[in-house]
């Protein structure tokens, strides 16, 4: 990872609110982060912690209403994506920022051939004609390791297995050589062996193509394997971010520590029972005025209830949003 390079994506103070019939849901609260060129940023957190919504907000993929972006900036290549018109965003989507979604079984349109769906972004963004797009599509399928690419192009999604479909999704996302690839839990719906294959593929593609990747997951094992830097989200906020080794060896936020303790260890004596995080995730019905993790935290004190801990830099590249210090 190039140290100190200008970030390709710089998000600060992003706030996304959903207006529902039973009130507002503050899904993303003042989230700031940046992404260096070629970096693989892992985003972890439990369901509803705002991992996906953050990314969807950036690129205008959330239906509005109910979603509304209440503030923040997202600088991509010198332009604020949150201030862009839908049309400008559309031109970035699929060409400079690619997406891979969670469920490959439903993410492809069942009634169009894989080739058609793969050629669409090429024809829209790169103005290729049919023959050029087809040649590039074959290239892309080969790139993601689909054997017999030329004849597979005319097959329909139901003729592919789950892992193969996810490869197709990756090929679609990479079609126009994006600078950023956002992968939203791309391996969650796959079984473990296929998951390993996809991870290998992404590592390999990253070396070949050099794009930055944001990898959203709730699987810490996956993150440990591929990420350069990790961002932990809880209750719509970033609670900790650090380089991957630093985070796993020296977690500072009680939530991160608890998360790591919920994993079974591979070395040394195992505890009889795995640790669980008691309690429920916070309801996000208003702007947080206190620490969202306070009710489940073993180290909570009065201050946590009075104010929401701001995110602070503790060590080089290691930020945490907590008043408590493990060594204190």
């Amino acid at each position: 990872m190039p140290e100190g390079a200008a970030p390709i994506l710089d998000v600060s103070g992003l706030k996304t609110v959903f207006t529902t019939r039973s009130g507002e849901v503050h899904a993303v609260n003042s989230v700031s982060f940046n992404l260096a060129p070629g970096e693989l940023l892992g985003v972890v957190g439990e369901s509803g912690s705002g991992k996906s919504v953050t990314m969807m907000s950036l690129i205008g993929l959330l239906p509005s209403p109910p979603a509304e972006i209440r503030g923040g900036t997202a600088m991509f290549d010198g332009h604020d994506m949150l201030a862009m018109s839908q049309d400008e965003l559309r031109q970035i989507r699929g060409s400079r920022i690619g997406f891979v979604f969670q469920d490959p079984m439903t993410s492809l349109n069942p009634v169009f051939s894989v080739g058609f769906q793969l050629m669409e972004p090429l024809r829209v963004h790169m103005n290729m004609n049919k023959a050029q797009a087809r040649a590039r599509a074959i290239e892309l399928l080969e790139l993601v390791g689909i054997p017999d690419a030329e004849s597979r192009l005319d097959n329909f999604p139901h003729q592919f297995s789950g892992g193969m479909r996810q490869r197709v999704m990756i090929a679609i996302a990479l079609a126009c050589d994006p600078q950023i690839l956002i992968a939203d839990e791309p391996t969650t719906a796959l079984d473990v062996t296929i998951q390993a294959q996809i991870l290998e593929l992404v590592k390999e593609l990253r070396q070949k193509l050099g794009m930055a990747i944001i990898w959203i997951t709730h699987d810490l094992g996956v993150i440990a394997g591929i990420a350069d830097r990790v961002r932990v989200m809880y209750g719509g906020q970033v609670v900790e971010q650090a380089p991957v080794r630093e985070l796993f060896s020296n977690p500072l936020h009680p939530y991160t520590r608890a998360l790591l303790e919920t994993l079974p260890g591979f070395v040394g004596a195992r505890s009889k029972r795995l640790r669980t995080i008691e309690g429920q995730p916070p309801s996000l019905d208003r702007q947080p005025t206190s620490c969202p993790f306070r009710t489940r935290c073993r180290h909570a004190n009065d201050q946590c209830a009075r104010e929401n801990p701001p995110i602070r830099t503790i060590a080089n590249g290691h930020d945490v949003a907590c008043f408590w210090r493990p060594d204190a």
Binding site: G94, S107, V124, A175
Partner: protein, 340 residues
């Protein structure tokens, strides 16, 4: 696909034979009497002779087989005769109406154009307005357009055509003055020949009201199906993928969502086509369109068994046929369905 189609077509033969028998059996079991409308002064023994002359003294199964021979063998041969291909004895017995003593098939051929024009046109118009309404209602769910569409669909669906038809006649044929542009004839004139622009205008005018009444009814149903189907698909993951690829919203909706949404709607539309031939019986009656629906009503009232039998059977053929067409369309639109 071809094998499937041939197999299904072959399978329709026993199905249709069975249907024709059931229709014949039910008609025979009905207490209607072809001589019932004759003057009461005709003595019973003459009446009996009339019945015998119509072949009604024969057992049911004999009459059924006779109808089968007339309809399945003699009528096609007669058709070939008209095309100049002569096979066998030209003096064969056709299916003859009890009431008019003319061949039933000729009567149907005479009335088919009116039904196709008026009822068929109303179906086409209904579908053409229903699809856009359904699509827009779904994309702009709960907008004023959607609310209005829902309201009009509810009216179109729940108010019967004999009411809207009569209402239209009251407004546009009686309240509106005769010389106004908004006056429309309440009676369909079959003798009108379209020869120039003036007669074409008159034809459009006399079709306008029945077409509108039936189109409203058809559109009400189909637009609801279209809307529901679009809504089902709008939340699918592949729509998000299409947007993430940076496609225009038009492309997302009119290529990705629409193609998927049309699959169930096409089936509904195809299965509705036989009703067109069935002729929206009541509406034809209201506007005095002498189409197939009206023919069926008159034949039922007169106890004209050969006409009722033949017409009903033709409707059955169309229903079976369009079921098959719906299945084939399904296979064409949805690549997951293969009939091999």
């Amino acid at each position: 696909m071809f094998n499937f189609t041939v197999r299904r077509l072959l399978f329709t033969i026993p199905t249709l034979l069975f249907i024709s028998f059931v229709i014949f059996f039910i008609l025979d079991a009905a207490p209607s009497d072809p001589t019932g409308n004759l003057p009461l002064t005709i003595p019973p023994d003459v009446r009996e002779k009339i019945r015998a002359s119509l072949g009604l003294d024969q057992p049911m199964i004999v009459r059924y087989l006779l109808w089968c021979k007339q309809f399945f063998i003699n009528e096609p041969l007669n058709l070939l005769d008209q095309w100049g291909l002569h096979l066998g004895d030209p003096d064969r017995l056709r299916v003859i109406s009890f009431q008019t003593r003319s061949p039933v098939v000729d009567m149907i051929a005479e009335r088919m154009p009116q039904t196709l024009w008026v009822v068929g046109m109303s179906y086409v118009v209904g579908v053409m307005i229903a699809l856009p309404i359904g699509i827009i209602s779904a994309v702009r769910q709960y907008s004023w357009f959607d609310q209005l569409g829902t309201f009009i669909s509810m009216i179109g669906f729940s108010v019967p055509t004999f009411f809207t038809g009569v209402l239209m006649i009251v407004v546009f044929s009686t309240i509106v003055p005769r010389d106004s542009f908004f006056w429309f004839p309440s009676i369909y004139d079959t003798t009108l020949k379209v020869t120039d622009w003036a007669s074409f205008g008159a034809q459009v005018r006399q079709m306008a009201m029945p077409v509108f009444v039936l189109a409203l009814y058809n559109a009400a149903q189909i637009s609801r199906f279209m809307r529901a189907s679009m809504l089902d698909n709008l939340n699918q993951d592949y729509v998000r993928t299409a947007r993430a690829k940076g496609l225009r919203e038009r492309t997302v909706l009119l290529v990705h969502v629409l193609r998927n949404s049309l699959i169930p709607v096409i089936t509904v539309i195809a299965l509705g086509v036989p009703q067109v031939f069935g002729g929206a019986i009541i509406t034809e009656q209201v506007f005095k369109v002498n189409g197939l629906g009206q023919l069926l009503i008159i034949a039922i009232q007169g106890g004209d068994i050969p006409t009722v039998q033949t017409l009903t059977f033709i409707f059955a053929v169309l229903i079976v046929l369009f079921n098959l067409i719906a299945d084939i369309l399904y296979g064409i639109l949805d690549p997951r369905i293969r009939y091999d």
